[in-house]
């Protein structure tokens, strides 16, 4: 196979290019002619690295396909997922999938795709349920990716589908039936058919000179307060950068009821508990706050500097 590989794809690319579907040939480092004449070699010609064992592959092979390929054995109901969702997901996505702040909305938005402000949710937009399982497993919860068990992923997936009225509360989502879940917008996508716009290179008198009008300019909201910069605080804040990297994710917006620095009332009791207690919570985690804000590469000293920064802003 390997010897003819480049030939096959060169011909394939040529065919594609001649149809005008993806006229990409002129732009690569190699032209079709160069591919055809470039040196071909056998599989394993270099033999660098090691052969991957089944066990090694299993540890990293996490992808799931719409046909269910890659799903592990198991299953769970939306009911199983309710408390988990509330604990692991609701602080950003809202208890009903409505989204907190700028974090993604997960449910609702049916029929909104043609509106001026479409709401693209799992229910209104996503074509496959497999994508939900795959993404929750690979990337969620945001601060602790790949921390959920397979059963927990089934449970949360089922619950998000339930929030979108796609399954019943007691429906058990399993390895065998996930691919059969029919998503409302599964036929809503089509393959790239650009260029979809054909413009002309006109050079003179391309439109009526008097017809040119400005239709929009950036709007500066007069009601918006001018940002007050506290220069003293900015300069004397060694932990600020760490705070922004590790803590601001939740603490700047108050996501998950995280107290916002500068809110003296919210911090009064916590600060009264002592700096050591705050440091301990920041390093070890507390409630839904993961250890070191999920950024385990930070040293204890760096986390402490961020705690001191927060205290400096929040002490009454």
């Amino acid at each position: 196979m390997s010897r003819s590989l480049k030939f096959v794809y060169a011909i394939l690319s040529l065919a594609v290019a001649s149809c005008g579907v993806a006229d990409d040939k002129t732009s690569g480092e190699l032209t079709v002619a160069e591919i055809l004449t470039s040196e071909d070699f056998e599989t394993g010609h270099f033999s660098y690295g090691e052969l991957a064992t089944a066990e090694q592959i299993a540890g990293w092979d996490i992808d799931i396909r719409p046909d269910g390929l890659g799903l592990p054995p198991g299953g769970a109901t939306a009911e199983d997922g309710e408390m988990l969702y509330e604990e692991k997901c609701a602080s950003c996505h809202g208890s009903f999938g409505e989204g907190v702040g700028r974090y993604p909305v997960l449910a609702g938005g049916e029929g909104s795709l043609t509106e001026a402000r479409p709401e693209k949710t799992v229910g209104s937009f996503w074509p496959y349920a497999s994508t939900l399982w795959d993404y929750i497993h690979r990337a969620m919860p945001f601060t602790e990716p790949e921390s959920l068990s397979d059963t927990e992923v089934y449970a949360i997936t089922a619950y998000v589908l339930y929030l979108n009225d796609l399954v019943e509360y007691d429906f058990e989502l399993t390895q065998d039936n996930l691919a059969e879940i029919e998503m409302p917008n599964k036929d809503g996508f089509f393959l790239d058919d650009r260029p979809d716009v054909v413009a002309v290179r006109c050079m003179e008198n391309c439109k009526e000179p008097g017809s040119v009008e400005i239709t929009s300019e950036p709007q500066i909201d007069e009601a918006e307060p001018v940002v007050e910069v506290d220069v003293a605080a900015e300069i004397a804040a060694p932990g600020k950068e760490i705070y922004e990297r590790a803590c601001a994710l939740c603490h700047a917006s108050g996501v998950g009821e995280a107290p916002i620095p500068g809110d003296a009332k919210a911090w009064a009791e916590r600060i009264a508990g002592g700096r050591d207690m705050l440091i301990n919570s920041a390093i070890s985690g507390k409630g839904i706050m993961p250890p070191k804000g999920g950024q385990l590469q930070l040293s204890d000293e760096e986390v402490i500097s961020a705690v001191d920064f927060i205290i400096s802003l929040s002490a009454d």
């Binding site: 732009s27 074509p127 002309v200």
Partner: protein
Amino acid sequence: MADRLRGDKRMGEETINTKNLLETISREGEKLPRSERRDFLKQGLLLAGGALAGATVANTARADGSGIPPSVPNWSKSLGPGVLTNPYGRPSKYEDHIVRRNVPWLTADRIASISFTPLAELSGIITPSSLVFERYHAGIPQIDPSEHRLMIHGMVDRPIILTVDDLKRFPSTSMIRFLECPANGGMEWRGAQMDALQFTHGMLSCCEWTGVMLSTLLQEVGLKKDAAWVLAEGADGAHMSRSIPMEKAMDDALIVYAQNGEPLRPEQGYPIRLINPGWEGNTCVKWLRRLEVGDEAWYHREETSKYTDLLADGRARKFSYVQECNSVVTFPCPEKPLTEKGRYEVQGLAWSGKGKIKHVDVSFDGGVNWRPAKLKGLVLPKALTRFGLEWDWDGSPALIQSRAVDETGYVQPTYTQLRDARGSSSIYHKNAIHTWRLYDSGKVTNVQIT
């Protein structure tokens, strides 16, 4: 004053103390009409933030004109620091305002977010590694290269695991190619919104990339019959993943470990990333840890929920990989206004994911008449191409535009044409002709026109 605040070359001529700067901004702002004042204050505050980091060093430099002819400057009459003062080098302290910036309201946090390249401050076609725009879905993983592995498996004869050193033993290839987020300019679909080139077009960079052709690696592992797609996956917390068609994988896709001659920056995927020349930046998966060969696409989150283009009729275009032909004038622009009447070289950048730039035309009257610009320096496929045009400014207001044509004959469209075809909810792939409004004062703002 305004020029200096915008980062003009005279930035270092006065003590840059942030507190003083803020006071000066506020004082100067009082003299302006109300409508312009707020704009001015905002730009000043932005710069003050940027100047903060360099405030201490800048404080020591006081320019008093004693170095201008006929006087001889002090640096010509003394010794400077020796070798290894900065072992890895750094820009002049007078250029501290040239930094990436972000738009805080765009994203919920700075972990899954984006920053913008300061295009107005750059010359030629290469983006310095330090200024390449950033896009993360789970922050920058802190990878120890000795423990990083690339696994290639799936429908292959010989699944393998490579170290970074293994990769570097393969025959290497270098190419200069642009990198652009498909959301570049996405904030402008519903009308002009951002008042700086950095924010209207700054999800764009161009580097020399060095690595191994993906086709070489796929030949090395041997493809099974029906192999048609490659899944690329990152080692970051988001395990960023995209399905790449085999045609592209066997064409010009490159697994890179270096940019602009140095090891990849952590922000750009250290120790290795995928580069799909001319395609959406997100397909160029960073911190690459795995390539799986399969017979169908995976339809993961970043190719269904995101990075699909919603049209007015409610349908969405999928696998819209190519970044179509685009261009923008980089001088003048809001960050680089004109200072006086006279002769200028208007400059800009053009690029196409389908090949080389063939022509760029510039209009000063909002697209009524166009003049061909000169393509300058290297004109490479799927790379930024710089253009320039000599222009005598008589002090009149103008509507300045550029329009690029690539070697396939594709002509960059207008906003009206794009919206007629797609509506205004696509978010991605906005490559419309851009308009700068030049005032008689020399000030430049972002506008959209009929």
